[in-house]
Symmetry: C2
Subunit: 333 residues, 2 copies
Amino acid sequence: MKRIAIDAMGGENAPEAIIEAVLKVKDELSQTQFILFGDADLIRQKLGNNYDQKRIQVVATQSIIGDEEEPVKAIRSKKDSSMVQAAQFVKAGKADALLSLGNTGALLASGIFIIGRIKGIPRPGLMPTLPAKDYHHAFDIIDVGANAQSKPEYLLKWAQMASFYASKIRKIENPRVALLNNGAESDKGDDLHQGAYNLLQDSNLHFIGNIEGNELMIGKADVVVTDGFTGNAALKSIEGMASVLLHSLKDSLLHNGLLTKLGAALIKKAVADLRAKYDTARYGGAVFLGLKAPVVKTHGRSDWCPIYYTLKQIDTILDEELIKIFTEEFAQK
Amino acid sequence: MKRIAIDAMGGENAPEAIIEAVLKVKDELSQTQFILFGDADLIRQKLGNNYDQKRIQVVATQSIIGDEEEPVKAIRSKKDSSMVQAAQFVKAGKADALLSLGNTGALLASGIFIIGRIKGIPRPGLMPTLPAKDYHHAFDIIDVGANAQSKPEYLLKWAQMASFYASKIRKIENPRVALLNNGAESDKGDDLHQGAYNLLQDSNLHFIGNIEGNELMIGKADVVVTDGFTGNAALKSIEGMASVLLHSLKDSLLHNGLLTKLGAALIKKAVADLRAKYDTARYGGAVFLGLKAPVVKTHGRSDWCPIYYTLKQIDTILDEELIKIFTEEFAQK
């Protein structure tokens, strides 16, 4: 039986959305047990008649790490929190993976300091999967912010792990790996990115060269590797622009007279299509790669749906034994 | 008389779009002379009856720097090109500013190696003005790619120059300056950004702290300072996302049946409004700040409209004597 430790108290819709997702996915993932950490009375009450004790376990914890708390301080001072307790379960071998919707920094800190790094990986990296222009494409981008300072060697390891992920979990044959840089030519970028380019070029990855910010969303690469600082800025710029544009469109549709409103009603399906296309939910959460167990973050604002997909994603990661692959691959180097 | 040197051969629509813009703006900018560099016969032919020799000068040049050419090599080997000749005119004091739609790298190289840096500015920075969520807001962002490697001191100077620009050219009182970083807290970022934060904090700028990628477009700051590598990635990510989203919307509207098509027709005005809102044209081109004369780049795909606004922008920069302000401000330090 695979066992997923779930911080049931993180995110804006906790614990309801998390419980709903577990109940929805439970029958599909029949070989998996869900261990919910948090306010046990509340969780049991919300589970109600669906509390299948063979498949769902509830572990009572006493506190919650808030989104604004300083990560390392938080995990040290709140050892009885839902997140830290869930991580401790993984460390103790009582669970195989960790999911949280809470404080990203604290989750990264829990991953590094409690669960621990895989030998041969100097720094774990955070990797979401994002939709690209064509509905059937998507790309993994790593690191989007786990590390403020990076070195070329880190980028190489991230690219290698993400390439395994794209191949094993997203079933992409020979994933195309690109480096986010400030130009197409091989000599572009600062020392960090020139160094990373050379390492990627010499690796056995399917490295297709540099990619620029405006090419991210067009599906040119299956894996994009970047330093955590730039990756964070690029990802957030993309999210910010999408949000501003969609809000502005809505605004324009509401404030341009009656005929426009009628038009807006008629294009509802097209807009829903568009939203579905750029919905990141179906790819699951952002995986923190390089740890001794899968640690996955789903957006704090999520309703049940992205959590549902994240649970399936984690299940696949466990089925494919991704951590075992990493351990064998990187330990010998 | 102010004199603007214009590389008439750069960009996809050269020289027509450039000539059209000059003719359209000429009467508004009655104290300005336009010096067009390029294929003299072709330019004179396109000018036709509008060739007002008191206001428009044509300088014959023999070659064009292509978009794919290596910048420094190009400006050294093509001394007879429209871009290099225009820059030489500025250097010789025969023109006061330089405009080009051509190879950005070559334009930056022309600025640095031909026109020269202002004393006290270690590295010039490239600064576009971008629209923010609210129609009446916009922000200047510097550096978006003139420098692959940066130092905290560079960021401070860029912020100072951009703040003068926002105040003098965009008429914003006490512009709010923010640092693009990977979190809100003052200790966020790598050494470069922590160093820049401290310098900005100690400066007499109206520094409002860190800003993240997703906050760029909401108009939180009037000036955003960033290193050239991150700025480039953020700007291009924003452009890429906007382009992909608008194309996808169009696609959705065309492939969702007849009623959707009818709806699309009805919302045309709303979509035009939206496009106008995020149209960067009215803010002019990207200014290369820190040189002995204004050097401005307009997007290579531009039709006459962005060029028209760029000419007005350059005219205002000359009226406000921005270069004189920089020279006095930075020379003494």
